[in-house]
């Protein structure tokens, strides 16, 4: 007998049923004493032991399916009739709804961009494969400058060697500062999220790829004090808990002066012994935009001034979620992904 066809027929049949009397007819047809399934069970006794077992199991599964279809349909029909009298155990867990998860870097990026957008910063993007000019020269880091050491670079192999237009994977989002200023006039405030790359041996705190958010705010009176205020406000908004911030001197050739920003998070409980608690952690390099960049963009350096910064997204995510190994972000593992 064709159990598959029987199953199909029964399924179609029950799906069309709209009332209890028809359901009863269906029950008799498919589960009743004279149903095809019952007859099939009766006929099993004639088979060999092995066949009996095999066929019996199959038929049993179908019988179970039919019973459950019947119960479900009966419930459905009855609940339509007398929902109020139906017994509900509200302490029973609800139906499990399956949802995917956004990657922690996406959530962190969203948090940060939202904070800046609230303060009027526009989102701008730029290419990941960049020219040497935008990544270095235009940022006051010509070939031979010792500060190039700060950006170990992955270079793109070009077929025709053309020294003048060497291509690389951008080592920071800063080239977009130059690209943006070439075609826009101040005042403005922008942020530039994006993927960056470094020639780096990977370990728990170093990766060959990472994400940054570049910031650039230029106006007639945008000062160092303004930079501090904006960053303090954003950090508060991102972490939504008490965070200590400190600003200290630093150096990048495309800013003058340069600033480094560190944060420290108080452990919520004494037992939290993560590395990131109670220690100053670098989250961004920043500074006042070097007038050379304004000159290159054709701005009047006497009129315009402003600040720029580069914020590490992985770093923020690691602090936020207490993740101690940066490599977890780029080695998709369901056990990690499902936690966010």
């Amino acid at each position: 007998m064709d159990l598959k066809q029987l199953k199909k027929d029964a399924e179609i049949g029950i799906s069309l049923i709209k009332n209890t009397s028809n359901l009863e007819k269906w029950r008799i047809k498919y589960l009743g004493r004279k149903s095809a399934l019952s007859l099939f069970f009766n006929s099993l006794s004639k088979l060999s032991l092995k066949e009996k077992k095999e066929q019996g199991q199959k038929a049993n599964a179908i019988r179970q399916l039919f019973s459950s279809l019947y119960k479900k349909k009966k419930n459905d029909l009855e609940s339509n009739l007398s929902f109020s009298s139906n017994f509900i155990d509200i302490t029973q867990p609800g139906e499990k709804i399956h949802q995917g998860h956004l990657h922690p870097l996406t959530s962190t990026l969203n948090d940060i961009t939202n904070s800046f957008q609230k303060m009027g910063f526009s989102i701008i993007e730029g290419p990941e494969i960049e020219t040497e000019y935008y990544n270095f020269d235009a940022l006051n880091i010509p070939a031979g400058h010792p500060a190039r050491e700060m950006w170990d670079t992955l270079w793109v192999k070009l077929e025709a060697k053309n020294e003048k237009s060497k291509m690389l994977l951008r080592t920071h989002t800063s080239p977009v500062q130059v690209r943006f200023m070439e075609t826009n006039q101040p005042p403005f405030r922008i942020i530039v999220p994006g993927k960056c790359f470094r020639y780096e041996a990977t370990d728990a705190s170093h990766e060959i790829q990472f994400h940054q958010i570049e910031g650039l705010m230029v106006g007639e009176n945008i000062s160092l004090s303004n930079f501090k205020a904006i960053i303090e406000e954003v950090v508060k908004d991102i972490f939504k808990q008490k965070v200590l911030i400190r600003f200290r001197p630093s150096y990048f050739p495309f800013v003058a002066p340069g600033v480094e920003v560190d944060i420290k998070i108080k452990p919520k409980t004494k037992n939290q012994k993560s590395k990131i608690n109670n220690e100053w952690l670098e989250i961004m390099g920043a500074g006042m935009v070097h007038p050379d960049l304004f000159k290159r963009a054709g701005y009047s350096t006497n009129r315009w001034q402003g600040f720029a910064f580069g914020l590490g997204i992985e770093r923020i995510a690691m602090i936020k979620y207490h993740i101690d190994d940066i490599r977890l972000f780029f080695s998709p593992d369901v056990r990690f992904l499902e936690q966010f």
Binding site: G100, W155, D333
Partner: protein
Amino acid sequence: MKFSYNWLKDLLKFKESPEKLADILTMYFAETTVKYYGKRPVLDVELLSNQVAEASGHLGLARETGAILGKIFIYPKINLKEKNLAAKDLLDIKIKSSNCNCYLARVIQGIKIKESPKWLKDALADCGVRSINNIVDAANYVMLETGQPLHTFDFDKICSKSTDINKKEIIIRQAKKNEKITTLEDEVYDLNEDIMVIADNESSLSLAGIKGGKKSGISTNTTNIILESANFNGVNIRSSSKKLGLRTDASWRFEHNLPLDLTGYAVDRLAQLIQEVAGGNILKGKVGQDIFKEKKELIPIKWENWEKFLGWSIKKKEIIYYLSLLGFSLQQKKDYILVSPPCFRNDVKIKEDVMGEVARLYGIDKVDSVMPQEVLTIPLHNEFFEFRKQVKDWLKGYNLEEVYNYSFISEQDKNILPNEWQQKLIEIENPTSALTKYLRPTLLVNFLKNINYNFRFVDKIRFFEIGKSYFKDKKNLKEFFVLSGTLAQKEKSNNLSILLYEAKGIIEDLFNKFGIDKDNYGFKSLENTEYSLLLEQGTAIYKNKDLIGVIGNPKKGLLKEYDCEGSSVFWEIKLLPLLEIVKEEREFQPLPKYPAIIRDISFIISQNILVDKILNVIQEASPLNLEDVDLFDVYIGKNLKSGTKSLSFHLTFRSKGHTLKNEEVDKEMEKVYKGLKNIGAEIR
């Protein structure tokens, strides 16, 4: 960089503990931590690239620390006991290379090589330098003290001048083609014209600014020595040391363009120290020349600029106080202040640097935070960024996990890809390993690795990623955002179409959410797309004539290569063209006034006739008032002739003008039946 706390304390006489001093340096100078060698504290200062020239010696750091603590530190004066014999009578210096800004030498006769005294050894050990003998140690000590690299030659091992047998000659020149040098460690280096050497009449003696040569090195028998102190062009030293693959403490220092005033000071200081630890007679005078004069910067800064730039009102008195502590010379005028940085601060060039220095000593952390007073503006809407964000949010709702993969694929991955794909790959010139040799041309490769990895923990995988893929297109380097995803299960299914249809359903629903009308895109065969080399069953999504994406089952061969057998489906859609379609706005449809009649139709037909064709036939039968056609069941299997399938559709009829009667619909259904029978359908 390591600095001895005790050495610094001897120079500056401060009270701060090592830890306190490290905190102060971190907040006002550069990040500093304390380490201990036994009981001797050592400060590890992470000098910033612009601070190396000024403060890579203990004297420089003492001067910096002094400025922070409010003390002016002056370099100790050096008094030498010189003999009457003039060094210039025994030695000539000839500078032939423009990469040498200054070269000064002294001669000492009758020294005695021996072990260094304990205080000297300790000081070197604190800074991580190994003790060798008193002469080499003295040169290293003075380098750590002043920041100026120094070198000593054995006077007697240097050739005499060709014109004067009684005189030695040191020549600073670019190396000759095919010239070689053997260093103190017996390493042989091939040189070329880009590399500067210190030489005598016959051959090179050392790699200028990088490493000493074997020929004129100090040995235990040395009695007469030449002390070298020089200033070299940083860019040249950096490129030479890169070319030679030889980086030394000296080359690193020279790369940062040391201040010129150090050259003479350091050679005098070395002569003094050598006499102290090795005896000998210092000949009178320095030999050599400055050929490069540093020009003095004069930077005018308007008084009103200070508050405008820094953001808080700073008093003239404070400005003058901090700049004086840092050794700047100042001239106050009515409207502005004229600032001249000291020669050891060649990193200060523009007014922003000067104002930054004042902010630094004031304490950047203490600066008031003030919100900017700017015109209120709503930020520009970045459509593409917001679009990608929305796509992610919706994909999450389909029970898909978002992943971030590497932008790279490996050499091995390359070899697995078909030729057509290999040719498009962008190669990295200096990959960190074979694993990061190429940029990914599709996200499929890394997804296959993800499947393999995650099958260790779960039986089913549902991943998506929005990221860039990269490829070469006629020498142009291209990168564009794609939305890719995979559904995979460990269990082998005979019916690969289940996952494929789910993926297609996800994409169709996603498009629908964005209001993309089916008229704006279409599914066609994978054939003739490059993806047909990677996927076997599947479909290509077109917008007009442009391929914007694919959905399909990865080829069995690929699954095997990545050891992720089972069933899986993959999709990849270019996001920018998709956004173009979305931009056309969604329009509201008025709610229907009259009820619909739904008819089901079920028929058996050859498997070769695709659903697409059947839908066309139904449309072409042009039944009146047909609102929607919906496939709700497909059956292939027993009870059906092989090569046939059973299809069931809901047909929804609705009139805009009246309530439809059954007879009206019957008439229209006849047209449909007829059309279907014409293509061989057997109506059930």
